[in-house]
Symmetry: D2
Subunit: 225 residues, 4 copies
C-alpha cells in the first residue's frame, strides 16, 4: 500500500473502515477477479465520463486558489491531463464498447455523481486550497492504491485495460506529485505538525466524507442503470 | 395551484411528471393524512436543518451575483429569514421532539442532502443569477405549493404545524416575492420571450434536476436513519 | 485607540506606517477640522455608495464560507445592516446634498474602488474565511477607529453627521462584534498562537494590502471627479 | 485591424475612443518607435509577471464555468499556455534584463494591476461564462491587435522581441481561437442577434471597463516604480 507522501496515510487512517469499504468495494473486487458484469462496468464508465468533467472543474478551481506559480503549474497540468487525456481515453473506451460520445453527453447524471463532484467543488469554494485538496485526495490517491493492488492481484484479464491505466507509471507518477502537493500545501498552511492544528478534525472529516461518496459511486455502478 | 409569477409555471410544466413525483410524494401525502411515521418526520427534520444551512449559503451567494440593489435587498432578506427565523424554528421544533441542537449539529449529512444543496451552490458558481434561481426555485416555490394544497386538503392534525408554516401568509408572501424576483431577473437576462432564448432548455434542465433531487430528499426522509 | 479584540491590534501593528497613512489621511483630518472641500466629500460619497454595494457582496460571500450557524448569523446581520441601513443612509445623505439615486447609479466606478472591493472579494474566493476577514478588517475596524477619534477630537461641525455615524454606539458595537468574530475564526483556524502559524505573514500582507487600498480610496476622494 | 470573429469588433466599436486610448497609448507608441525608456519597460514587465498569474487564474475560472467539453479544452489549453509558456518567457526576459525570479516574486502588486485582474475574476464569479469572456477579451485580443500593427509599423528594433511575440503566428492563432470561443458562447447564450439581447449594454460595459483598466495599466508602466 503506497503512501504518496506524509499526509495522505494519516487522512486514510483517520477515515478508518470507510477507506476499506471504498478500496475493497464489491465493484473493485469484481474487476480484480473478472466477476463484475459488463453492464455494471459500462454504467460506471458513462457516469465516470460525467464525473471527470466536474472533477476537472475542481482541479481548475484549485488553479484559482493556489498560492505559488509552482502549485498553479501542477494543478494546470492535472486539468490538462484530465481533459485532454483521461476524458479522451474514456470516449475511446466507451466507443469500443458501443457507446457513442453523443450517448455519453445525453446521459443523466446520477445523484451519487452530483453529490460527490459538487461536494468537492463546494469544499474549494467554502474553504481554502487545503480543504479542496482534502476532498480531491480520496479519488486521485484511492484510484492509485486500487490500481497498484489490482495490478499485482488481478486474477482475470476482463478489466485489464482499466487496471493498467491506474497501475501504470503515468498514473502512479500523478499520485506521487499530488501527494507531494498536499504535503507542501499542508506545510505552508498548518506547519510542521498538522495533527496539532485545530483544523485537523475538519480536514479529516472532509477526506472521510469524500471517501463515503466514493463508496456511493461504486454502489451506483452496481445498480442497474 | 398558485403560479407565483410568469416563469415558474413554465419551468414547472417543463419538468413534467417529475414535479408531481415531488409535490405528491408519499412523504407529502403522509403529512396530509397523518399516516407519516413520526420517526420519518424526525429523520427529515434533522436533515432539513442541515439543508437549511446550505440553502442559506446559496441565497447568500445570490446576493453576490445580484445586479441591482433591489435584488440584493430581497436576497439578503431571504438569507436573514432563513438563518434567523427558519433555522431557529427548526431548532425549536426538534427540541420539542426531544432532539437537542447538539444532536442536530452532530448528525451526518445524507448523500441526498449533499447532492441537492451542493448542486444548487454549483449552479450559482458555474452560471449567473438566473441559473442559480432556476436551481433554488423548486424548493422555495414547491414548498409553497405543497403547503397551500395541504392547508386546504389535510385530513389530520398530526403535521399541522409544518403545514401551517408553509401554507401561512408569511411563507406564501416569500413565494410571491421570489416568483417576482425570478421574473425580473429573467426579463433583464432573456428579454420578453424567455422561451425563445437558446438558454431556455438548459434552464429547464436545471429546474428539473433540482426537482429530481427534491424527490430524492423525500425518499431519504422515508428511509430509516 | 480601541482594540476590538486580540487579533486586530496585531494586524494593525504589522501594517506599520501604512495604518497611520490611512487613519490620519488628509481626507480624514479635513473632516476633523472642517477644511475638507464639500466637493471632495460628495465625490467620496458617490464612490462610497458603489463601495458599499460590493462590500455587502463580500460580507455575503462570508456567509457562504462560515463554518458555524453562529458565524453565518453575524455575517448575515452585517449584510442586512449594510444593504438595508448603511446604503439607505447614503442615499438619504446624497439626496440632501442634491445627488439623486439615479445619479449614484449612473456614476462610473473609480479604479481605486474597483481595486479595493474586488481585491476583498478575491481574498474570499482564493482563500478561506480568515483570509476574507483579514481583507475586510481594515475598512470595518479602521472606520471605527477613525470615527471614535474624530468623535473626541473634531474641531468643526461640518462633517458631524459622518463622524456621529462611525463614532456612535451602533457602529462601535458592530466593530466589537466583528473583532470578536475575527478572534473566533482565528482560534478555530490557527489555534492559540496565531503568530506562530506559517500563515501569519500572508494574513498580515492581506491586511496591509487592504490598508494600502484604503489610502488609495481617500486619495481618490481628494482628486477632482 | 483584425476582427478575430464577429462579436469582438462590435464590443470594440461600443468601447469607442477608450479602445484607441488603450491600443495607441503612449507606452505602445514608445515601443513602436523605440522611444520608450527601458526603465518603464522593465517596470511594466515586473507588473505584467504578476498580471499573468492572476490572468491565468481567471482562465482557470473559465474552465469551471464552461458548458461543453470543447470549451473546457480551449480554456485549459490557454491556462497551460499562460502558466507554462508565457510566464516562463517573462521570467527569461526579466532574467536577461537583470531581474531575478526572486525579485519578480517580491515585487508589490500595483493598484492598477489589482484593479484589473480582480475585476476580471469578479466578472466570472458574479456572472456567467460570457460575462467573464467580455472582461478577458480586451487584454487577449487587444494585445493581438497591437502586436499585429506594431509588427507592420515598428520603426525601431528596441522592443522587437515583445512585438514578435504578439505579432507572431502562435499568439495570433490564440486570438483567432479566443474570438471563435466568444462567438460560440455568445451564440448559445444570446442567440443569433446578440445586440438585441437585454444583456448587450451590460456586456459592452464590461468590455469597456476592462479596456479602461488596460489604459490604467499602461499609465502605471510609464510612472516611475
Amino acid at each position: 500500500m503506497s503512501d504518496y507522501g506524509r499526509l495522505f496515510p494519516r487522512w486514510r487512517d483517520a477515515a478508518g473502515p470507510e477507506w476499506t469499504r471504498y478500496t475493497r468495494h464489491a465493484f473493485v473486487e469484481g474487476m480484480r477477479d473478472g466477476s463484475l458484469p459488463r453492464a455494471a462496468f459500462l454504467h460506471y464508465l458513462v457516469q465516470d465520463y460525467i464525473f471527470l468533467i466536474h472533477f476537472s472543474r475542481a482541479w481548475a478551481l484549485a488553479v484559482t486558489k493556489a498560492e505559488t506559480v509552482e502549485e498553479m503549474r501542477l494543478c494546470a497540468a492535472t486539468v490538462n491531463a484530465l481533459i485532454n487525456e483521461e476524458i479522451a481515453l474514456h470516449v475511446k473506451t466507451c466507443a469500443e464498447a458501443g457507446l457513442s460520445e453523443e450517448a455519453l453527453e445525453a446521459a443523466d447524471e446520477a445523484a451519487e455523481n452530483l453529490a460527490y463532484t459538487r461536494y468537492v467543488l463546494d469544499a474549494g469554494h467554502s474553504g481554502d486550497m487545503l480543504d479542496l485538496l482534502a476532498a480531491l485526495a480520496p479519488c486521485v490517491l484511492g484510484y492509485g492504491e486500487i490500481g497498484a493492488r489490482l495490478g499485482a492481484e488481478a486474477t482475470s484479464d476482463a478489466y485489464r485495460d482499466w487496471i493498467d491505466t491506474y497501475a501504470g507509471a503515468d498514473y502512479q507518477g500523478v499520485c506521487t506529485d499530488v501527494g507531494a502537493l498536499i504535503d507542501t500545501v499542508a506545510a505552508r498552511t498548518l506547519g510542521d505538525d498538522p495533527q496539532a492544528s485545530p483544523r485537523w478534525p475538519a480536514l479529516c472529516r472532509r477526506f472521510a466524507t469524500a471517501t463515503r461518496l466514493e463508496v456511493g459511486f461504486w454502489d451506483m455502478g452496481l445498480r442497474p442503470a
